[in-house]
Symmetry: C2
Subunit: 636 residues, 2 copies
């Protein structure tokens, strides 16, 4: 009966309470103002209009394309401590990143060909591996990475703002949390991810980046491709190791997260869906490559160094355009696109969580659609965990990067191996080419994932490498529990039917007054026999008084009076239950009827004993008794 | 149905939950380790041994005598900004304080003569004024001041430690909160306030202070009563105003809080009780006066200035004894005595709160004795509010002083006026002398209270002057509520008896499985007619399936299937209740039976819908229905 886990229970109870409030405040004006009127289930399928590919492109590319704002910078940050001579490495590293981007895009095109209805890494793994844990690696690593995407994107968005307005630097964490809260509300309201309005900021950002790249090119044509500020090319700085280069490469690869978005979204394309999705992939790859390469080259030519309070993108823009309108445009487009990237993750996370939960590997609550038809619980979990990360890492993008992307590459790897198995099994036209492509993809993503794990291990990746296996173990335990429960609850409809039992009803009375009268009226309505009233007194005097009063009241039923040495109703009631259970040899059902005051004003609750509530909680958990609460609504 | 107060409700619900946890974790090992085994009510009267006066003296004087550690310092802090020339004012100010101390002690001796069974300001006011608000001024101001005593004493205790060990300065607030937490636990364990062990630290502290005073005197005899460091005497510094002097005087009066302790404790003295208590008062007054005057004089001679990181007591000790053993002794005795002062306040606060609550002016929960026979709720409220004050004022004694003492002087005033009325009414031997003494006392405490209110108003006293009236209004509202409820609940035993009613029972079913079978078995045991099962489906398909299954199950009772457009059980159930209420013209009692899973492991709760809990909460608050929970304890 001793629970050392009471503190943890308390914590969960508080969490649950917040959830409960959100659920029961169904008609609350606060909730309505924040997330809008509830929507009918029937409204679910009325929203999708199929998209032309060049509209789908900006909508689906926010996640990947926005990463150019922090990818190259986090790569070079690793090397810059070796001095000016290491700066040229940004060029080979960016080229490797772009090569990897194309390999991944081609691999994902294979995925589209295999699963035209859209299939993420989890679906591919589920379809091709019997072992449940393989698909759980895919889902676990993707879920963890979605959380990191929100943390990283929002932090990077605020770093853009801080570059332009250093005065807000001390409030970075608070503002980041505020952004997550706004994203939470927006997603609980359930704005469709595919709304066309989301195309414009990404188009604007891409246009700005192109202007930046071509302004840079123009500048270099005019002032020379080697400028006074250009660091030496090809030099090997002292202290450079392969490990350091690999570390820089894996940091730069954080720019590749978000590739999976298009392949998950095939169904929203206009027909021919596969062809259009492939077109989009190629266009996105081309634009991203140009941006990454151009951006990296200009950074090198200008010899720009990372600065924690001024992003390299901001520094470069300042150099070309000063602090004018163009600078403001780029900063604000960067901010909006990064926030959009975080926003699209909310849909991705909650949908994946709902799919995995429907398979029984995560709490079933994640499959519930909220008032506005989004998977509210998943949305809330994502916002909460991302906020915790932002607080823990104080909204510093470069501190979060080592945790990031490793999950994405793990899920990439699982997906590639899944596709390999599929081509071998299903075959079909050109299957050998497809198999070759995915095999190359699998090998490369495995290598990249390993590079991540090794080079980033000590700077934070170990957290992810612990969290993902733990998540998998939990998922397996959860499914185990659901199966056991299902087995336990299953009954044979023909033989196991409800059967009436002997019921012994105990009504708790604290005196003779209207609440007790109300409660006893109900009790006598439902049972005429085996009814007894229990009075717990703290001293002999009060017990005698009660017995006399009961007599005067005409003995409505048998009264049992018990004395509590410890001033608590729990202990004598517990004793009585035990006694009855033994006497009846556990054959009768014990039924406790508890009166409960419901005061008119909520703050009056603190003026009345909450014994009813306490008793109910304790009895339900520790005894096999049925509990009835008879409310008495106070008029005052 | 719209509640804008939902957020506040949530806050109170969380508070309640913490309380609930503490209450239901009756057998929890954590609670047992912290506060010990529960004690029987019968153990209550087995603890008091009557005390000889010279043992009672140190036990009861911690609160008053410990104030010498901060009283003179907070007085001179007000003046020191006028420069060195203002320092001599510490002498006249301390003399006035000592004069006031004697007037108060004589007045309180009158109180002992009038109420030999111990009577605080609240009891005196209650006995002598018909107007309830007069006694509520006394109780309200005392309760507020008790809270401040804890905050001020603990802060001052930590300032003593910080003076000796500047390294802990940044952790002052955290350590202060920790001290309050330890005091909370100690008081929930219920160590008797009158334990003789508490005499020693105060004796030790008093001895140290005497040694300090006489060492100073010796030093001055040897090196002259005017030393190079002595500031000029009798000069009037520029900028000195009457207001400033009064402000300094009222700050110094913070040394006078705690006088009431002895008069409240008359019953713990050996016989003749009154005589012994009076002896104690005179001895305490003498020792306190010598200490205050000697301490103030030496501070003046040495020209010591206040320093936020080194108390004046510490500076003086350093000067006479260096950083040796004597210094350590004085610092640690100061610390312990100040903590003891805070400790004795816990008993004072919780007892006064229980007395006022028993009169119906505060929530009745404050009269409950906890497991260890102390008034736990009062103890918890005191610890919580004092902690909030410490956090808000970052454990700075001098920031808290302006809020302090005004309450004490308000209650002193009420007590004096009460005693005046009593002498006029009761008369008795020497009543005219006694009346004169209390009249002088009343006039002086009124003046001092006014000086406090005026001089400290802007630096924080306004908070107290708002809080006390608000507390009084709340108290009156609470009593009003209790009276109304009592009136509403009262019934005529002869005519109003429990009456059986028609009951309509609705069993919520989510399918056909063991939990539903269990629930329906109970429902059929208690009622044969007017029983119906309600199934809420989210789509037509599930509803049809359920109907077929029910048929196959042999139709155990009538099944109603309702569709929820908004994926919630609440709304269709609410509709059904409404319908039945109208059809039955509110003559039958509606009874909802809800199945509830009780998982084997607590963390499994997050894997199951908490619909039962949510429904119960909402229905109890918003509908007049009886709710029965039928638990099903999962084996897995």
């Amino acid at each position: 009966m001793t629970h050392p886990s009471h503190f943890i229970e308390l914590f969960f109870a508080i969490l649950a309470l917040v959830g409960i409030w959100f659920s029961i405040s169904n008609f609350s004006s606060v909730k309505r103002a924040l997330i809008g009127r509830p929507m009918r289930t029937a409204e679910l399928h009325a929203q999708h209009n199929k998209l032309i590919w060049y509209i789908a492109l900006p909508i689906l590319s926010a996640d990947l394309y926005s990463s150019v704002a922090y990818g190259p910078e986090s790569g070079i940050t690793e090397l810059v401590k070796l001095g000016n001579e290491a700066k040229w490495y940004i060029i080979p590293i960016t080229i490797s990143t772009v090569v990897l981007l194309f390999i991944l895009i081609i691999s994902y095109i294979m995925g589209i060909l295999a699963y035209p209805n859209g299939g993420g890494a989890y679906a591919i793994a589920k379809d091709n591996f019997k072992q449940r844990w393989v698909s759980l690696i895919a889902s676990g690593s993707l879920l963890v990475d979605y959380i990191l995407t929100v943390a990283v994107s929002v932090s990077a968005a605020l770093e853009a703002i801080v570059s332009a307005y250093p005065i807000v630097a001390p409030y970075e964490t608070v503002l980041a949390i505020l952004c997550v809260f706004i994203l939470l509300m927006v997603n609980l309201r359930g704005i469709a991810e595919s709304a066309k309005i989301f195309a414009w900021p990404t188009i604007g950002f891409a246009a700005c980046m192109m202007i930046l790249v071509f302004t840079g090119l123009f500048n270099e044509v005019k002032h020379g491709f080697v400028q006074p500020s250009t660091p030496p090319f090809g030099s090997v700085p002292k202290g450079l190791t392969i490990l350091l280069i690999l570390k820089a490469f894996s940091s730069a690869c954080s720019a590749l997260t978000g590739i999976e978005t298009i392949s998950n979204a095939v169904p929203i394309f206009r027909k021919p869906q596969q062809k259009n999705a492939i077109k989009t992939y190629i266009a996105l790859g081309t634009i991203t490559s140009i941006t990454l390469l151009g951006f990296a080259y200009h950074l090198y030519v200008r010899g720009i160094s990372p600065n924690p309070n001024n992003t390299m993108l901001s520094q470069l823009t300042e150099y070309y355009f000063g602090h004018g309108i163009m600078y403001q445009l780029i900063i604000w487009f960067t901010f909006i696109v990064l926030i959009l990237a975080a926003n699209s993750t909310f849909t991705g996370f909650s949908q994946l969580a709902a799919i995995v939960a429907a398979d029984g590997f995560l709490p079933r609550g994640l499959t519930n659609r909220g008032d506005r038809l989004g998977y509210s619980n998943g949305i809330i979990v994502l916002a909460a965990t991302a906020s915790l990360l932002i607080i823990a890492f104080q909204a510093h993008t470069n501190a979060l990067i080592p945790l990031y992307a490793i999950g994405v590459f793990m899920s990439f790897t699982v997906a590639q191996f899944g596709l390999m198995r599929r081509w071998k099994r299903v075959k079909g036209p050109h299957w050998k080419t497809k198999l070759t492509i995915n095999t190359i993809g699998a090998i490369i993503t495995t290598i990249v994932a390993l590079i991540f794990a090794v080079t980033k291990f000590t700077s934070g990746a170990w957290i992810v490498l612990i969290v993902i296996p733990v998540l998998i173990l939990f998922s397996l335990a959860i499914q185990h529990h659901y199966r056991d429960v299902a087995k336990e609850l299953k009954i044979d409809l023909k033989t196991m039917r409800p059967e009436a039992n002997r019921v012994i009803t105990i009504v708790l009375v604290s005196g003779v007054h209207r609440v007790v009268q109300n409660t006893l009226s109900f009790a006598t309505s439902i049972c005429q026999e085996n009814l007894l009233a229990l009075y717990v007194g703290f001293d002999d005097d009060s017990m005698k008084k009660m017995e006399a009063k009961w007599e005067e009241w005409g003995n409505p039923c048998r009264l049992v009076t018990l004395k509590s040495k410890y001033r608590s109703v729990l202990e004598p009631l517990s004793r009585l239950i035990h006694l009855i259970e033994e006497k009846e040899q556990f054959k009768s059902q014990i039924h406790i009827v508890i009166p409960q005051f419901i005061p008119h004003k909520w703050w009056h609750n603190i003026l009345h004993n909450q014994t009813a509530l306490l008793l109910r909680l304790w009895l339900l958990r520790h005894r096999d008794v049925v509990i009835t609460t008879v409310p008495y609504h106070l008029k005052n």
